[in-house]
């Protein structure tokens, strides 16, 4: 059995009297790509923020490699090897690509003087690794001049540099063109091949279905589906299930729903 990287047990989160999450169980194994799907307000964002340690759960338990971690916060999350690429908010856009990749982990020698040449070479290597190359810009280019897709590339390159074991991608393909989406997929497969894990959050069920090994569907703060890829016939079946969750019909849900882990 694959090594369990991280496990959330019975996570609840209330904002006042509103329950954002009502006892969620979620786990990610080593080298696994988990697709997290859910409508707006399903609790995806809250769940990501809890994993990243920026929001504290009201109750519940978080286990890293099988060991419960107390006092979960952003630092613990990073120590556990969790790297979140937040949609739109991850980058300091007035800075260069290099400065963003090495944000908070600058390559510096004695007395804190930067090793700029080494940083640029390392950034070039990381960018090449994820197929993020261009004649137009260099690692010294300002992020504000990049397209939305290219910015995603910078954030992903940074996550690789930080050697994350679990990279959380928050809607990574939402703003991307077809070609750029396939680049992200290519990267996700490379990360998986290297033994790292990905939590892939998306609205586009076709995108998530194309890349994930396992699907977790959130609805109004609860996990309503946790199914392996083999148990889901097609993206259409997943979409049908999602529609059924949103607007319950009188007919029985597709068989996909009945595969608890």
């Amino acid at each position: 059995m694959a090594e369990r990287l991280i496990e959330l047990r019975n996570i609840r989160k209330s904002f006042g009297r509103v329950d954002a999450l009502g006892g969620v169980n979620l786990s990610v194994d080593k080298g696994e790509v988990v697709g997290l799907i859910g409508d707006n307000g399903a609790g995806k964002s809250t769940l990501i923020k809890i994993l990243a340690g920026v929001v504290k759960p009201t109750s519940g338990q978080i286990l890293v490699r099988g060991n419960p971690v107390s006092g979960w916060n952003a630092a613990r999350s990073r120590d556990a090897g969790i790297e979140t690429v937040f949609q739109d908010r991850a980058l300091a856009v007035q800075q260069s690509i290099v400065r963003n990749i090495f944000m908070g982990r600058e390559l510096a020698g004695r007395f804190g003087w930067l090793k700029l040449g080494r940083e640029v070479r390392e950034a070039e290597r990381l960018m090449r690794e994820i197929g993020f190359t261009s004649r137009i810009f260099t690692p010294r280019s300002i992020v504000a001049q990049l397209s939305g897709g290219e910015r995603q590339g910078v954030a992903i390159a940074r996550a690789i540099y930080n050697e994350a074991d679990l990279i959380i991608l928050d809607e990574p393909t939402t703003a991307l063109s077809l070609a750029e989406t396939s680049k992200v997929f290519h990267f996700v497969r490379q990360v998986k091949a290297s033994g790292r894990s990905i939590l892939f959050i998306g609205h586009n069920i076709h995108h998530v279905h194309a890349i994930a090994d396992r699907f977790v569907v959130l609805d109004r703060g609860n996990v309503v589906l946790d199914a392996n890829r083999a148990d889901v016939r097609s993206a259409e079946a997943l979409i049908a299930f999602m529609e059924d969750v949103a607007h319950p019909r009188t007919t029985l849900p597709p068989s996909t729903a009945a595969s608890p882990r």
Partner: protein, 344 residues
């Protein structure tokens, strides 16, 4: 979009290539592009000096007028350069005039008590940094508006000086014969020595800003504090450090100013509040944080210092000084708008 985009010869549109397009390959363009703000400020300075020179060639071809500017310019440099860091971090510090007066006061007391001026300088610098730490901690950890809180601190610190000294100045005639005076504020080949210290400070700070982890984190904190703290940067600590740096600069400014005049006044530093701030923005550092330029700020200080001398030297009455001060500030801001468009 930018003044550096040349003719489009080979079918690549300017928007595709952007200011950092293939021209980024050429080191000279890369340098010009990366330093547009200070180069623009330098252009303003050159044009201004050209106008002065045309208005009164005789006065402006004599060394004396430059000598008088270089005598007091270092004091402005010590103030302006750290302010660039604070503004880039997304904060503002209006307490530096009182910090300058307070640190110089401690320096003056130490020298008056018979201690060596070097020891006095250490005391003064320590005072400035501690005051910077206090001001910064109040602003950052109480989460106050730095604009208002530092203004309050400026009044309060100045008030302490007034209360204790009852408005009396301190004359330091012993300084005139000290070795510290020779090293820090005398003449070498008719050039005031303090300007070398001022330049050294600017160069050090420019490296700190562009080639040091501290400068990199100051920019990131001013740019996107959420992202910075997510990536493990102690955002508040970085902010406090910029205030400590201002305290250090203000102390140096106060000590040099006291050494130039052999006298400490209870109002020391007061006159620098607005000119120093104006220099930061004239230099090309925008108000919104995330980017800035140390060298630009230094040239901005040079411009602001020269206006007063220049306007009078050009043959206009002193009443024109304020008008030209304002004119230069507005024109510089309009010019920097173009540079800064690429960041937003």
């Amino acid at each position: 979009m930018t003044e550096f985009v040349g003719p489009e010869k080979d079918g690549t549109s300017a928007t595709d290539a952007g200011p950092l397009g293939r021209r980024a390959e050429h080191p000279l363009w890369r340098f010009a592009d990366a330093n547009r703000a200070p180069l623009g400020t330098l252009a303003v300075f050159v044009v201004m000096m050209g106008v002065f020179l045309a208005a009164n060639p005789r006065v402006f071809s004599e060394w004396n007028i430059y000598r008088s500017v270089l005598t007091t310019l270092p004091v402005a440099l010590f103030l302006v350069v750290p302010l660039v860091f604070v503004v880039t971090a997304g904060e503002i510090d209006l307490s530096f005039p009182a910090t300058m007066g307070f640190s110089a006061w401690m320096f003056a007391l130490a020298v008056q008590a018979g201690f060596s001026p070097y020891l006095g300088a250490v005391v003064g610098i320590a005072t400035g940094m501690v005051l910077g730490l206090i001001v910064g901690s109040i602003v950052v950890y109480f989460n106050l508006s730095s604009l208002v809180a530092t203004l309050g601190m400026n009044f309060m610190l100045r008030g302490v000086i007034q209360i204790v000294t009852e408005g009396k100045s301190i004359a330091l005639t012993s300084l005139a014969h000290s070795s510290a005076k020779t090293i820090f504020s005398s003449d070498v080949l008719d050039v005031p020595t303090q300007i070398f210290w001022g330049f050294a400070f600017v160069i050090f700070a420019a490296f700190l800003f562009n080639r040091h982890r501290f400068g990199a984190q100051v920019k990131i904190v001013g740019d996107n504090p959420d992202s910075a703290s997510q990536m493990g940067i102690d955002v508040n600590l970085v902010r406090v450090k910029t205030f400590v740096f201002v305290g250090l600069g203000a102390a140096l400014a106060g000590i040099f100013s006291t050494m130039i005049n052999f006298t400490w006044w209870p109002t020391a530093g007061d006159g620098y509040l607005l000119p120093a701030l104006a220099s930061v923005f004239v230099g090309g550092t925008p108000t919104w944080g995330g980017v800035g330029t140390v060298v630009g700020g230094a040239i901005g200080a040079l411009i602001v210092s020269f206006i007063q001398t220049g306007v009078v030297g050009a043959g206009l009455s002193g009443f024109y000084v304020q008008f030209f001060n304002g004119l230069i500030i507005i024109l510089s801001l309009v010019g920097h708008r173009w540079n800064q468009a690429r960041y937003r």
